[in-house]
């Protein structure tokens, strides 16, 4: 989430740092749109909240939609990075998945309004958001797919298994976000874990790990 501050910004220089502007605009957009909804978010307010002139917004994004997509990318890149960091490569696979689930849920809990914005509202921009959603699902599915080495039966699972499991887990999280049931998010931890492990380990071991 930290905006990268790169290089010295010499005093008196009028030059903007485009990357820094962009990061600030994305942060401001996420904050405002998460609070009041995408539809009620305007470029002017985002720029003002970022401490930049409105022209700086349009130097970065042709419209509000482009800014939503950039914010979406930023959110999911950070989420996936944290998930992948949390998973110890040498650890047993079920423990890696557990670490991933715990990390993903705490990320969502910490940024619950932004999570709701991206999980529900962002589809409003249509295919570009869906493509991004699918890329994110596939990336998480790739991590889950390592579980096929866990048992002989798991090796024969349908190709779509991981995509359906991950999308199903996301759907469970989204339902709780939609119900604005804050207390429901931590409770999801064992439920998600059980569901994700089930096809690979069977119900008994999945419950044990969860």
């Amino acid at each position: 989430m930290t905006a990268e501050l790169r290089g010295p910004h010499g005093g008196g220089s009028q030059r903007r740092d485009p990357e820094r502007d962009r990061a600030r605009l994305v942060d401001a957009f996420t904050k405002i749109a998460a609070e009041r909804g995408y539809a009620k978010t305007t470029a002017g307010e985002v720029a003002a909240a970022a401490g930049l002139p409105r022209s700086a917004f349009y130097a970065q994004f042709s419209d509000k939609r482009q800014c939503l997509l950039a914010a979406y990318d930023h959110f999911f890149a950070a989420l996936l990075e944290e998930i992948e960091e949390a998973m110890e490569p040498g650890a047993p696979w079920p423990e890696q998945i557990e670490a991933g689930v715990v990390t993903a849920l705490s990320f969502v809990i910490e940024q619950v309004d932004a999570a709701r914005l991206f999980a529900v509202e962002s589809l409003v921009v249509g295919p570009p958001a869906v493509e991004r959603y699918q890329v994110a699902i596939q990336r998480m599915a790739g991590v889950l797919r390592n579980g096929r080495a866990h048992s002989a039966e798991a090796a024969a699972l349908p190709v779509l298994t991981e995509a359906v499991l991950v999308a199903g887990a996301v759907s469970l999280v989204t339902a709780v976000l939609l119900a604005e049931d804050q207390a429901g998010l931590p409770r999801l931890q064992s439920r998600l874990l059980e569901v994700l492990l089930l096809p690979y380990t069977g119900a008994g071991e999945a419950r044990l790990t969860a």
Binding site: P127, L160, A167, L172, T174, A203
Partner: protein, 214 residues
């Protein structure tokens, strides 16, 4: 959906009632048509009354707002999907075959009415919280239906509580992706794998594959 007046019944008493119901049905169909053509949020009441061929004050008798009419049309769409699935299930005896027929019916309905499905199963949820809640309630409904399988397979009693809801939600999300990408023709090719996936927790991998492909 349709209310048929039984033949031979005295017509007059029910005329006012059936006129009301017919208007509503026409308005709902017009909302669906307009939304499929113009997009969920972009429709206007003028388009709806024009498509329905009724004056605007009739619209106002039935709905307080465009949003309310859209919700009613979404309800009709989801109800139809639900009934299609139930009907297909009823025609089979064995539970795995019920699942297979039910899922096939849902996918076929979505492909057949893909423009409507995109509007009411995907777009609506991004435009209105009330619409998203309805969509999620429907997922819960299908998950509860699937859960009946636990009664036929005692070993399934120990399945994680969220199994059915996760499967239904996962499938809905994959199918929605194809609808939103305007790629509905890819949906039928997913059917066998999706049926297998749904059955695996109850029948195991080999049994599920047999039931899905046999």
């Amino acid at each position: 959906m349709r209310r048929d007046v039984a033949a031979g019944e005295p017509q007059r008493r029910s005329e006012a009632v059936s006129g009301y119901a017919e208007d509503r049905e026409r308005l709902i169909a017009a909302v669906a048509k307009a939304a499929a053509e113009h997009g969920y949020s972009a429709i206007t009441i003028e388009q709806v009354v024009q498509y329905a061929g009724v004056p605007r004050d009739i619209f106002e008798v039935h709905f307080e707002s465009k949003e309310q009419a859209l919700i009613a049309a979404q309800d009709a769409f989801l109800e139809r999907l639900w009934l299609d699935a139930l009907h297909a299930c009823d025609e089979r005896e064995d539970w795995p075959l019920k699942v297979r027929a039910g899922l096939a019916a849902i996918l076929a309905s979505l492909v057949e009415a893909s423009a409507l499905a995109r509007v009411f199963a995907v777009e609506a949820c991004t435009a209105s919280l009330a619409a998203a809640e309805r969509q999620f309630a429907t997922l819960d409904q299908f998950a509860a239906l699937l859960r009946e399988g636990r009664r036929s397979y005692p070993a399934a009693e120990s399945l994680p509580d969220a199994t059915e809801r996760a499967l239904v939600g996962g499938i809905a999300s994959i199918v929605s992706g194809h609808l939103l990408m305007e790629d509905p023709q890819a949906i039928p090719s997913l059917e066998t794998e999706l049926v297998e996936l749904v059955l695996i927790p109850y029948l195991g991998e080999a049994g599920a594959r047999r039931a899905a492909t046999g």
